[in-house]
């Protein structure tokens, strides 16, 4: 059924081809969103539901600082709020990366360390950011420390899982061969361990950043008096739908820009050593690795995968 479109008849006109191309579909998506938006606007029984123009106007005022809203004496406009959040995110992210790499390496190399940490990593992974947010707000007050710890708590398990998975996936034969040929340890680390760890490390980077950001904004709602999370809550409390949607769009723009401008180019770099794997595909594949929520499931799936592989080998032998 689905192949019908790709196997379109040869005699189609250029106009049709343009309409049928995936790029057009991609461009059509925002149009569809606008259509749905207007549909809701005309059918909903709500006095505060904004039109797209309202929201765009609001966003423009925020960006050009002409709205006249001063959020507080410390963080008075969009840029300062955003800067505050970004600073917290970066500090928490760096700490999570360093700590997570150390623990993840230990867990990947030593079975004992793995058994020691495993259940607690899972426990931290399962805790919603909300729990951290409410608790940190009470424990530490409205400073910078609470949100930073929330970023660490959200990102750390993802880094650990990915780094650990990366160490486990290093090709053992290559290590054995390197040892057999008396390659010095630092060379093994640089040429075997690091390159095979790279995709996993990169996935860790990407997810720690994304998850850390998600945890941060929730914490800023409950345990902070500034930052982007606090600002969107400000508009929610003010019952201004255009403010909430406008800031939500700022969030989306920020996240998308980060993906397209920072992580996608980085992915290309990280995967240059093995060009046959599509970088994005690999990153998405690692989403799968993360999605398995850790080791137990991962192991069970690996066991399941083995019979199939061995079957293939046998069939080739035959």
């Amino acid at each position: 059924m689905t192949t019908l479109v790709t196997k379109a008849p040869v005699s189609e006109t250029g106009w049709r081809r343009v309409l049928g191309s995936p790029k057009t579909a991609r461009l059509l998506f925002p149009v569809a969103v606008l259509a749905v938006w207007y549909f809701i606007y005309y059918t909903i029984d709500s006095r505060i539901f904004p039109t797209p123009q309202d929201v765009l106007g609001f966003m423009w005022e925020e960006v050009t600082l002409t709205s006249g809203v001063r959020y507080s004496s410390v963080a008075e406009n969009l840029y300062v709020q955003f800067g505050v959040s970004l600073m917290r995110l970066t500090i928490g992210f760096v700490v999570a990366m360093i700590l997570g790499t150390i623990i993840g390496l230990a867990m990947g190399i030593s079975k004992r360390a793995d058994a020691f940490f495993h259940d607690w990593v899972m426990a931290v992974l399962a805790m919603p950011a909300l729990v951290w947010a409410l608790f940190l707000g009470l424990a530490l007050g409205f400073g910078d420390l609470g949100p930073i710890i929330a970023v660490i708590a959200a990102g750390l398990p993802f880094v650990i899982i990915n780094v650990r998975e990366g160490v486990r996936n290093t090709p053992r034969e290559l290590f054995d061969m390197a040892r057999a040929f008396d390659v010095p340890q630092n060379k093994i680390t640089r040429h075997v361990l690091l390159p095979s760890l790279m995709p996993f490390f990169f996935a860790a980077l990407r997810y720690a950043y994304a998850i850390g950001w998600k945890g941060l904004v929730i914490t800023e709602v409950f345990a902070s008096d500034r930052g982007m999370g606090w600002t969107i809550k400000f508009w929610y409390d003010a019952h201004r739908a255009k403010g909430v949607i406008g800031y939500a769009l700022f969030f989306i723009i920020f996240a998308m820009a980060l993906e397209k401008l920072v992580f996608d180019p980085l992915a290309e770099k990280a995967f240059r050593w093995r060009p046959q794997v599509d970088a994005l595909e690999m990153a998405e594949g690692d989403f799968g690795a993360v999605t398995q929520e850790g080791f137990l499931l991962q192991e069970s799936q690996v066991e399941e995968a083995v019979p199939i592989e061995s079957m293939e080998v046998e069939s080739k032998d035959g």
Partner: protein, 276 residues
């Protein structure tokens, strides 16, 4: 490969015994270290709670003691019922939609159309969907359904699409060559192969889904786990707060071990048959 096992049954059993002994020792060691982990973390926790005060960080013992109180108060089961209903409705919808969309993304046009939607859903925080849903629909169910839907559907879609990309092309080609009907091909080749990816989607989607649900309950509900957690933290009843948080963790663990894994084993029986 198979002939080697027939040659020397005696040697194999000795080898096997050695392997079993090694495995046993490894299991014992793993449990020892696991136990050490529990002791160290729980010990540290008790120590911290002793230092900063039981009011702020209740000790693990205190949390266990609070648990029966919560059940006795009657709020426990009603809160769980409320939250689980929300998850079932919201995540159920997004699960079905996610699977359909994941299958449809085989079509390049539909894939292009929804590409940005899935990326946006994956990278943007649950908070914005919760707040948008609430500010538009208020306390109506559409609000939280919208929030749960927007945060979880892409997880399902991405996993299903990933599974489809990894489909064994040769099996499908073969079934085509032998004139197997489309429906039968879907049922006996495609769906069994996709099952693990769908299970992954279910698991991860559920874990994200419950976090969003709790978040929406904090803002806009008068029952449910999120609501209880907010009340407990506002009244500075940290023991209750942690009990709520940990109880759900235990709940998901049980769900995972007892329900999901059992179904998964059932689903994958065909694979063990293959290996035998």
């Amino acid at each position: 490969m198979t002939t080697a096992t027939h040659d020397a049954p005696v040697a194999r059993s000795a080898e096997e015994e050695r392997l079993i002994a090694i495995r046993k020792r490894e299991t014992r060691q793993r449990w020892q270290w696991r136990l050490t982990g529990y002791i160290v973390v729980l010990g540290l926790w008790s120590l911290v709670s002793r230092v900063v005060g039981e009011n702020l960080i209740p000790s693990p013992l205190r949390i266990i003691e609070t648990f029966p109180d919560l059940i006795e108060s009657g709020r426990f089961f009603s809160s769980y019922a409320a939250t689980l209903t929300r998850i079932a409705v919201g995540f159920g919808l997004s699960f079905v939609f996610g699977i359909v969309l994941g299958i449809l993304t085989q079509n390049k046009w539909i894939d292009g159309f929804f590409k940005d939607a899935t990326t946006i859903s994956l990278v943007s925080p649950a908070l914005i969907w919760a707040l948008i849903g609430l500010v538009i629909w208020g306390f109506e169910p559409q609000g939280w359904i919208f929030a749960i839907f927007m945060t979880t559907f892409a997880i399902v879609t991405v996993n299903v699409a990933e599974g489809i990309r990894a489909l064994p092309k040769d099996l499908i080609d073969m079934s085509r060559a032998f004139g197997v009907s489309t429906r039968r091909r879907q049922r006996e080749v495609v769906i069994p192969f996709l099952a693990p990816f769908i299970f992954t989607a279910l698991r991860f989607g559920f874990s994200v889904g419950w976090k969003v649900t709790v978040l929406t309950e904090v803002f806009s509900a008068n029952e449910g786990i999120g609501f209880e957690m907010r009340i407990a933290s506002q009244l500075f009843r940290m023991d209750e707060f942690f009990t709520w948080a940990l109880s759900f963790f235990v709940f998901t663990l049980i769900l995972e071990k007892l329900v999901l894994q059992r179904y998964e084993n059932k689903f994958f029986r065909w694979r063990t048959e293959v290996s035998a």
